[in-house]
Symmetry: C2
Subunit: 316 residues, 2 copies
């Protein structure tokens, strides 16, 4: 057991991420008391049954009243309302953090109702599984995964360091950066890939019935991996796109220009330019392998390339 970093930590939302944090924090004794809030009785019963926290609250006010750290684990678009509802009930000095995929808009939304007495340290753990809800919570989910922290300019170093210590104690590699920069990097590494996956699956649903059937039948040839992504939570992703609009639109514009150029090369049979682009992209893969980010470090991430995405024949 480590020395506790916080007395009381309250989770607003105790699903995959909140629940996994609670498991690790409890196991390592990183807080003396854990409170969990969920809107629905059914969810609260589940949290209770799993013993994820010490106290399950049905009212937001009760959930945050004693908190030294509040962890917001709700969709990005719901953060502002939650902050408004809980603001009057917070202790002065209670630190507010979150686990959302968009950081600038969340900081803005939270600050709108929170008093200056409550420091905000935005957070974004790059971790997850395909499941959701309290029963999806796992021990060790954040081990050797990045967690990006985005404090406000006037956040105290003490508040930042306490949140950092919590994530490091759960095994994460912490990176502190500006919220705008986070949003730009995630727009290309995560948000745009998701949008594209949603889009290609959407395009397939527009095909005539017989082709659609065969798309499903032969989905193993690549499409299937996109359908997995495109089965992600619609509300969560709606919120991400609406709240990281500028960065996503900027990356989308660049992507569309590049795609149009590739389209043109295909139309006019410009094999050399295609080959050049496809050769350059290999270097990026090598950089990622050199950076140790190719998936070898973490057994929870299947290292094997999805076979279905691969070339179906070989050359000599």
């Amino acid at each position: 057991m480590s020395a506790p970093i916080f007395d009381t930590i309250s989770f607003i939302g105790v699903g995959l991420i909140g629940g996994s944090m609670a498991r690790d924090i409890k196991a390592a004794g990183l807080a003396r008391h854990l409170v969990g809030y969920a809107r629905r009785q059914e969810t609260r019963d589940e949290i209770e049954a799993l013993g994820l926290v010490d106290q399950v609250a049905s009212e937001l006010a009760d959930a945050v009243r004693e908190a030294d750290l509040v962890v917001l684990c709700v969709p990005v678009g719901a953060m502002g309302q939650v902050a408004a509802d809980m603001a009057p009930h917070l202790k002065p000095g209670a630190i507010i953090t979150d686990v959302g995929s968009v950081k600038r808009q969340v900081l803005v939304d939270l600050r709108q109702s929170l008093s200056a007495a409550n420091p905000i340290v935005g957070g974004h753990p790059l971790a997850g599984t395909e499941h959701s809800g309290p029963s999806a919570a796992l021990t060790g989910l954040f081990r050797q995964r990045w967690c990006v922290l985005t404090p406000e300019a006037d956040t105290s170093i003490l508040a930042l360091e306490k949140v950092r210590a919590l994530w490091e104690a759960m095994g994460s590699n912490v990176e502190v950066m500006d919220a705008d920069h986070h949003d730009k990097v995630l727009a290309i590494t995560s948000h745009l890939p998701h949008l594209i996956a949603y889009c290609i699956v959407h395009t397939a649903t527009g095909l005539e019935a017989q082709t659609q059937e065969e798309v499903i039948k032969f989905s193993a040839s690549g499409f299937r991996d996109f359908t997995r992504i495109a089965a992600s939570d619609p509300v969560m992703w709606r919120d991400i796109f609406l709240n990281n609009k500028d960065a996503v639109l900027e990356m989308l514009q660049r992507f569309s220009e590049d795609l149009t150029a590739l389209q043109r090369s295909i139309r006019y049979g410009e094999g050399e330019s295609l080959q050049q682009v496809f050769t350059e992209t290999r270097a990026v893969r090598r950089s990622i392998q050199d950076a140790g980010q190719a998936g070898t470090f973490d057994a929870r991430e299947p290292e094997a390339m999805p076979l279905s995405l691969l070339a179906p024949y070989a050359s000599d």
Copy 2:
């Protein structure tokens, strides 16, 4: 050991696919004699050392002279030239098949030099791994995977059934379809996903240096999976796009229209239409699961969703 289906089978190209076929055919006794051709001495030495075939040929003429079945395992764009070079040396009645990802253009290219005495049965096994070359050859690579066969209209039933029997003996589920239809289905299930992956990685390489570094550092959040795909063989994929131009351009056009619509919804904050699209795409995933194509049937395909592509937080 089964009864041999062919006396002599010749592989033009003995890499991942040709080599894996050779392993299974040998193990099950599906042919009496296996010949392998490779252009380069180094590759021939490797094939020899691995014992993939009974005879390694350095001349195309020698490789195909006794063949009852020739399996072309070269990039799609090289098929026509190989056919022209081997045509004068084929036995009448020798069946020609291939393993390329594009079927119509390959049929056209092959028929241009092959005599009517040589039936063509186009083939496309939907299987692979991230490796290539003779040493990548695996036993059982095609087990429980689809293999699409695209005969010509005047291909004899006997020729088709012999090639079908070969794939079924290797454990594949065989589907016979028209070459154009294959190309259309694969354009959306495989070719377009690859083009998009190449494109997004290409777009990232255009970002300013610091962002690029962080794209690599935080690639675990989704981008990494695209870099895997975008590290696929450039020549092979150049050939696929150039040889399935019409179907790829058609799907690309539809995709671009849909992407533009999503872009517009993001710009104007139309949350409901985004959510509707993202909800519809879930149904496709369910269809794939219902069709038993979600990856559970084959241990070689990691069932777990790439964690990095998933939502990094939960809601209550």
